[in-house]
Symmetry: C2
Subunit: 405 residues, 2 copies
C-alpha cells in the first residue's frame, strides 16, 4: 500500500478549527487507500509561550531542560490532532519522538537524527492506524529528550520518509509552494513547479522559510521527493523538490529576505585578525550565527571588522565580547537591518545581477550598507524600513522579463 508522509507546521494546527482542517487533509489521503504518517509541529505560539515561562525562571537554561520543556508542545498538538481524526471516525494514534523511534545525538536544542527505529510506526500502520508523530524531537542514547533546532519538524518528516521508504513527503505550510520571493512580501512573485535540491538549499539558507536547510540535505542524501503545499487552500499543486529536476544554470531562482538583523562593528588599533578568529570560534560554540563578515585593515589607524547577526543574539554577543577583551576593542551595533539575497547558481551571472541590484536601489535612494557576493548569491544589507520597497523593486527588475525565469 502506498505510504504518504505529511508534515503540518504550527500555524496549520493553531486552533481547533485549523486542526480539523488538517485532520480532513489527512483522512482524505487515507480514504484514497494510502497509509499515512503525519508529522506535526507545536501549535501556533505554544513554543513562544513555553519560552516565556522559561525566561521568567532563567536566561541561561541548560539545553537538556530546554528540550524537555519545548518538546511538550508537539506532544500536545499531536494528541489533539489524533483526537480530531478519531472524532471524524478514523483510527489514529499519536507518538512522541521517543515512541516514534527518533534516535539523535546529544547536541541538545540542535540535535541531529542518527537513525529512526520504525518498528512501532510500522506496527501501527499494519493495524491500519493513521500515525501522528510529534515533530522536532527525539531521544539520545541516554534516554534524554532532544530537539532538532528551528524548523526541525521538516527534518523529522523528511527523515521519516527516507526511513519508511515513503513515496512522497508532503510539507504543508501557509504558502502553496516555493516562490521567486515570499508572496506575502512580493505579490508579483511566481511559483516554481519544481526545483532541484541544490537550488532549494540555497534559497532556504538565505532566508526562504518554507523548508529548513537540514531537511533538504536529508532529502538529497536519501533521494526523498518533497512537495511543498498549502495547508489552507484546496489546491494540490505545490512545488516538487526532487533529484529529477536539473540544477538551474545561469538562472536566478529567487530573492529571499532576512529581517531582524543587527550590523556589528568591531574596531581595534591593531591585530583585528586575532579578534576575528576568537569571535568566530566563540560565537560558533554558543550558537550565534555570524554572517556577511567584512574586514578592513589600517583604515584611519584602525582595523575594522563588520558583520551581521540576528538581533536576538545581540545581548549574548555583547556578554561574550566583554569576556574576550574590554581594553583594546570597541564595539558598536545598529539594529533594524535586513538582508536581501538574490539566489543565483552561476558566478558569471552574479556580476551582472549585482550591478542590476545596485542600480535599482540607487534609483530608489536606498542605501546599501553591506554587500556580500559569492558564486551562489548576491546579498545586500539595508535598513529594515526600506526592505520591502527594495525587494519588490529588485524582484520586478530581475523577473519582469519572461526570458529570465
Amino acid at each position: 500500500m502506498p505510504l504518504v508522509i505529511q508534515k503540518f507546521g504550527g500555524s496549520s494546527v493553531a486552533d481547533a478549527h485549523h486542526i480539523f482542517n488538517v485532520a480532513k487533509k489527512i483522512t482524505d489521503v487515507y480514504k484514497s487507500g494510502n497509509d499515512v504518517v503525519a508529522v506535526v509541529s507545536a501549535q501556533g505560539d505554544t513554543t513562544d509561550k513555553l519560552q516565556e515561562l522559561m525566561e521568567e525562571i532563567t536566561d541561561n537554561a541548560c539545553g537538556r531542560e530546554k528540550d524537555v520543556l519545548l518538546s511538550a508542545g508537539e506532544q500536545v498538538s499531536s494528541s489533539l490532532l489524533a483526537m480530531a481524526i478519531q472524532k471524524l471516525g478514523f483510527p489514529a494514534i499519536s507518538l512522541t519522538g521517543t515512541q516514534a523511534g527518533f534516535l539523535t545525538d546529544s547536541n541538545h536544542t540542535d540535535a541531529k537524527i542518527i537513525r529512526i527505529d520504525t518498528k512501532r510506526i510500522e506496527n501501527e500502520l499494519k493495524n491500519k492506524n493513521i500515525v501522528i508523530v510529534a515533530g522536532f524531537q527525539g531521544i539520545n542514547e541516554n534516554g534524554d529528550i532532544t530537539t532538532l533546532g528551528r524548523g526541525g519538524s521538516d527534518t523529522s518528516a523528511v527523515a521519516l520518509a527516507a526511513a519508511l521508504h515513503a513515496d512522497v513527503c508532503k510539507i504543508y505550510t501557509d504558502v502553496d509552494g516555493v516562490y521567486t520571493a515570499d508572496p506575502r512580501n512580493v505579490p508579483s512573485a511566481k511559483k516554481w513547479s519544481s526545483l532541484s535540491y541544490g537550488t532549494m538549499f540555497e534559497m532556504a539558507h538565505f532566508g526562504a522559510q518554507v523548508l529548513n536547510e537540514r531537511s533538504i540535505e536529508t532529502a538529497k542524501k536519501f533521494g526523498v521527493t518533497v512537495e511543498v503545499l498549502s495547508s489552507l487552500s484546496g489546491s494540490s499543486l505545490g512545488t516538487v523538490i526532487t533529484e529529477k529536476t536539473p540544477e538551474l544554470n545561469n538562472t536566478i531562482s529567487g530573492i529571499s529576505l532576512k529581517n531582524h538583523l543587527a550590523k556589528v562593528t568591531l574596531s581595534a588599533r591593531e591585530n583585528i585578525k586575532k579578534y576575528e578568529e576568537i569571535i568566530m570560534s566563540e560565537t560558533d560554540k554558543i550558537g550565534i550565527k555570524i554572517d556577511n563578515t567584512m574586514k578592513s585593515v589600517g583604515r584611519q589607524n584602525k582595523d575594522i571588522f563588520n558583520f551581521v547577526i540576528e538581533e536576538s543574539s545581540i545581548n549574548d554577543f555583547l556578554k561574550l565580547a566583554k569576556k574576550i577583551d574590554t581594553q583594546n576593542i570597541q564595539i558598536s551595533y545598529e539594529k533594524n537591518k535586513s538582508e536581501i539575497s538574490v539566489i543565483n547558481i552561476s558566478e558569471s551571472l552574479n556580476l551582472n545581477t549585482a550591478s542590476i541590484i545596485f542600480e535599482t536601489l540607487a534609483e530608489m535612494n536606498i542605501d546599501i550598507e553591506m554587500v556580500a557576493c559569492d558564486e551562489k548569491r548576491v546579498s545586500v544589507v539595508v535598513a529594515s524600513e526600506c526592505a520591502n520597497t527594495a525587494i519588490n523593486a529588485i524582484h520586478s527588475k530581475l523577473f519582469e522579463e519572461d526570458t529570465i525565469i
Copy 2:
C-alpha cells in the same frame, strides 16, 4: 546518605515566584546532606487549560490520547523546576514518568503503578543530582503514556518512597497538615500531629483533599511514613501519617465536605431493583461515581431510587439513562448539594454522633436531604448554601470539648 522524597502540588509551582520558593525548599534539604527526589504536579491551571483545548476538539477523547495530552503538563513544570534549582546553583535533572521508570497497567486516565524501575533515578542520585520527577504519569508495557487519575502525583511520590526505601515522603500542600476539618472552611479546626493510615484513608475517601486515597493505600502497603506540610509557610511541623500511630478508637477524626454534588431521583412503577443494578454497573464502567444510594419500594405505587453524583457527571449520566430505558423510569435531579461526613472509627459512637448532627442542624433550621451511615462515618446531604454554616456548627458541637479530641 539519607533520602528524602518531596511532593509539590500544582498551586505550589503555579508561577516563577512559587517555583523558586519550592526550589529553595528542595535545596535546603539537599544542603543539609540529603539525597532529594522531588515529585511535581502540573502548574496551577495547566491541566484545566489542556482540557479546554481537548474539549474544543471532542467531548469523547480516548483515554490513551488524553494521557498523552495531560502528561505534557508535568513535563513542563518538572523542567521549569529543574531550571530554577540550577539557577540557584545546584545540580538538578528532570525526568518524565517514562524516564523515571514508572511502569503502570494500561487503564488509561486511571492507571495503577505496577513497579518502578529506579535505575535511572539511582544513577542520577549517585551523580549528586537533585532529581525532579514528573508526577501523575507512567508508561505501560506497550510504551504508551498513562496517567494515574486525580491526585495521582501523591501516589507517584509515595510509590517512589517505597521503591527507593526513602526515609520519609513529604507531601507539600497549601494547608500545613491534616485538620479536623478543612481550615479554609472551618477556622476553628485543629491540626492532627499524627494519624494512622486507616483514619487518613477514611478522611480522604470522604472528601479531605490533602492526600488521595490510593497514595494512602500504597503508604500502608509499604509502610512509608508520609508527612503533610505547607509549601507556603516556613513551619516544618505538619501531620505525620505512619504505622506507628494507633488507629483511633471511639474518636471522631474529622469532618469532611464534598461540594458540587447532585441528588438524583429515579422512579419506576415497579422493578426498581433491576434498574438499580444496571445503573450501578453501567456508571461504574464509564467512571461515574454513585454514592449514598437509598431505595424505597412501593411508596405511592412507585419504587424510588435516590443517590448522589458529582454535578459534572450529570450530562453523562442522563445520556446513559436514556440508553437504558426511556419508557418506564422517570429521572429528576437537583444540583447544588453538599455532603458533610463525620469520620468515625466506631459503630457504637456513630449512633450518638448521628443524633448530635441531627439535633444541631435542626436547631439551625437546616434540612437534611439524605443520610448515610456505616461503621466508619455518618454523612448528611444538605443544600450547598447551608453547607458552610452546617459544617461549622457540627464541628463546634463535636470538637468543642477537649475530651473528645
